[in-house]
Every structure is written in structure tokens, then in C-alpha cells.
Symmetry: C2
Subunit: 215 residues, 2 copies
């Protein structure tokens, strides 16, 4: 591990802002793009279940369709790439089995030794209502969004998280209706335009002692 300095980290987090106008001519290079997809894949999740699917959308026509379902926000079409973050609706026994199998293979652990973990996850998820489970999975997706946005900033790539989208229409366009996954949020990735007046606006946040209590 080669840690970065606190100054570099702070600078990247301050540099980041919700980009409103992207430079449509600037594309993210393939190595950086793959690293950002890895940041999603490597994101933490409860029990490691990874209750998500991510769409990386370059296709111009699809992005036009999505833009029409996003209050016509230009970021959807103009950013280098668009990621749509989807959450699993529920966590089934099969999902847990798939994860336990992945864990066993990756770590070279006999699957029997993972039975207690498997049982614990089943008990935990089995006690949740359908609505609680949806919310739980959606929270994991937001954690992944946080990892993606922070990772992008550190690579000097701009982002704009997009909640103002019709998730139902996105589901239709992406063919998710019977998939068990649902669109939760999107994120445009690319490079800010020098026409974006928000790029130079001072970052507005409550003071630290308003949001942090020390005990």
C-alpha cells in the first residue's frame, strides 16, 4: 500500500462537485474507466452479498432515451459515460448460495465450513420484510456510489449523481422488469466543461462542528 497524503485527498474531495455541464468531446480513457468499474465491483456490501448490477452506457441512442426520462438533464448524454446503479429487489436463498460458493472458491475454504455464515445470512435476511430488504439493498448501492464518486475524484474524473430520473422508465429501457433488479440512481462520468459556472463556485457545506459531535 502506497497511501496518499491528507492534502491530496482533501484537495480531490474539494475539487469534486456535481458537474452540471460536461465537455462532450472528452472521453475517459479505457484504463481509468476499467478502474472505476473495479471501484464498483470492489465496493463493500453487507455480508459481501453485492446485491447490485451496474450498467455502463455508451450507446448514444440509449442515452437519448434515458435523458428523456431524466428531466432532460444534459449530463445523461454529454458526459463521457453513464453508469446506472441497480439494486436487487430481494435476497433469495439462491443469492446467498451463490455468494457462499464464490467465497469458498476464492478463499479455498471447504463449503461446509461456511455453513454457519450461510445460516446467519439466511436468518438475518429471512427476518426482513420485502420493503426493508429493498431499502437495505438500495443502501448498499449508495455505498457503492460513494466509493465510485470518491474514486473518480481521485483520478481527476468528474461525476454527477442523478436521482432525478424515472426509475420505472429506466427499468423498461434497460429491460429490467423481470430481472429482479431495479434502477436506484445513476451517475454521469467524464470531464467538466469550462462553460460550467458551478465549477468555480465555492463549496457550500455546514461547518464541521454542526455535523460532527465528539464524545
Amino acid at each position: 500500500m502506497n497511501p496518499i497524503t491528507t492534502q491530496d485527498l482533501h484537495q480531490a474531495l474539494t475539487w469534486r462537485y456535481a458537474t452540471k455541464v460536461f465537455d462532450a468531446s472528452k472521453k475517459i480513457d479505457p484504463t481509468k474507466l476499467e478502474t472505476l468499474l473495479e471501484s464498483l465491483r470492489l465496493s463493500p456490501s453487507s455480508f459481501g452479498l453485492q446485491p447490485w448490477k451496474f450498467f455502463l452506457i455508451e450507446n448514444a441512442e440509449t442515452r437519448q432515451q434515458l435523458r428523456a426520462q431524466s428531466w432532460n438533464q444534459p449530463q445523461v448524454t454529454d458526459a463521457s459515460h453513464l453508469v446506472v446503479l441497480c439494486a436487487k429487489e430481494s435476497v433469495s436463498t439462491e443469492d446467498i448460495d451463490e455468494w457462499i460458493k464464490c467465497l469458498a472458491i476464492t478463499q479455498g475454504t471447504p463449503i461446509d465450513q461456511l455453513a454457519p455464515l450461510q445460516g446467519m445470512i439466511q436468518q438475518f435476511t429471512g427476518s426482513m420484510s420485502a420493503a426493508d430488504m429493498q431499502n437495505w439493498n438500495t443502501r448498499q448501492v449508495y455505498l457503492a456510489l460513494g466509493q465510485l464518486m470518491t474514486s473518480a475524484a481521485l483520478l481527476g474524473i468528474d461525476t454527477c449523481p442523478l436521482e432525478g430520473i424515472s426509475a420505472t422508465a429506466y427499468d423498461q429501457i434497460l429491460g429490467l422488469e423481470t430481472s429482479g433488479y431495479r434502477t436506484r440512481v445513476a451517475c454521469a462520468l467524464g470531464y467538466r466543461s469550462d462553460q460550467d459556472k458551478y465549477a468555480s463556485a465555492p463549496k457550500a457545506r455546514f461547518p464541521l462542528d454542526r455535523v460532527v459531535t465528539r464524545l
Copy 2:
């Protein structure tokens, strides 16, 4: 901005794991700790509303009390620091006004010019049910958790996200009952012990083409 390399980013994200055993003798130095608190403060949130409060807990007695409400997980007491992430239960007109005022002051904008934004936020939040609003705020807190954990990894600091906690008991211990905030998740921060067998386990994740679809 001084971007880091894709290799350094990928290495940090791979190095990170949910630390089970912390080295209780190792403390995070003050500069790094303040930068991590800044990573929470600077986190993105819907409309910039920052519907959250974070507790940074060093006090040993409080942490013992919290550990008893966390399935006795040793990370709660043994890590250098514990952060408890709380979400606002609802977003009130006063909350929106406070944010608009902060924005106006920081950016030197006459408050009247922000009236359209203020109206839009009010309309958006006004149409949400109480449950939807709680979930919405909680998702923002998970985004902040993502930014915190990724930031920590880049500084070479270990973390363990903690969902297995009694949020209601945490609320009592932290005196949150009438505050309008509720405990949603916690995160231990510090340094892994060389006794933690999970530190050397290969990272288990589904393959990229299982979680990412390219269109």
C-alpha cells in the same frame, strides 16, 4: 488537482477489507483523523441538504456501552476511533431554509435568487411520505459512508462498517431520542492487527461481467 494513478487507487481498494481485529495500541494521528471527518463533511448529498450528523467517539466508557449493543463486536472498543452515522428523520422547511442560507452566504448569492431552488426542494420533499424521506436520508448517509471508507483506505487506514448494531440503543446512549436524528450505521476506524486472519484472505467478489453490463 493532483490525480493519483489507477494502480494506486486499485491497490488501495483491494487492500481495504472489513477489519475484524484492530490493533488497539495504534491510534490515527490527528491530521489524518480531521481529514477523515472532512471526507464526511464534504460528502455529496441530494440537493446538498446534508441530512446527517456524525458522532466521533473516543470515550472508552461510551464505547463499552455501545459494544454491548453491537453483538459484542470488539471493533467497537478496540479500533482507534468509532464513527456513528446518523440520518435526519425528516427534512423540514427549516432544514431547507438553513441550507439555502448556507449556500447564499458561501457563494455570495442574494438569497432571493435561490428562491426557485428553495421552492423546488420544498416541492420535492413535500411530496414524500415519512417513510420515503427516512429512507432517502439514510441512503445519503450510506453515500457518506462510502466516501469515508474509500478515503480511509487511500490514507492507509482500516475500517469496519457495522450494521449489526441496535440502532435504538445507540440512539439512547447518544441522547438522540428527541433530536430528529437516528442512528443508521457505524464504522470503526484504525489499524488492522497482525492477528486478524481475514487480513490476508483473498478478496472475494463476483467477476466483473457478472455485475457490469455494457450497453
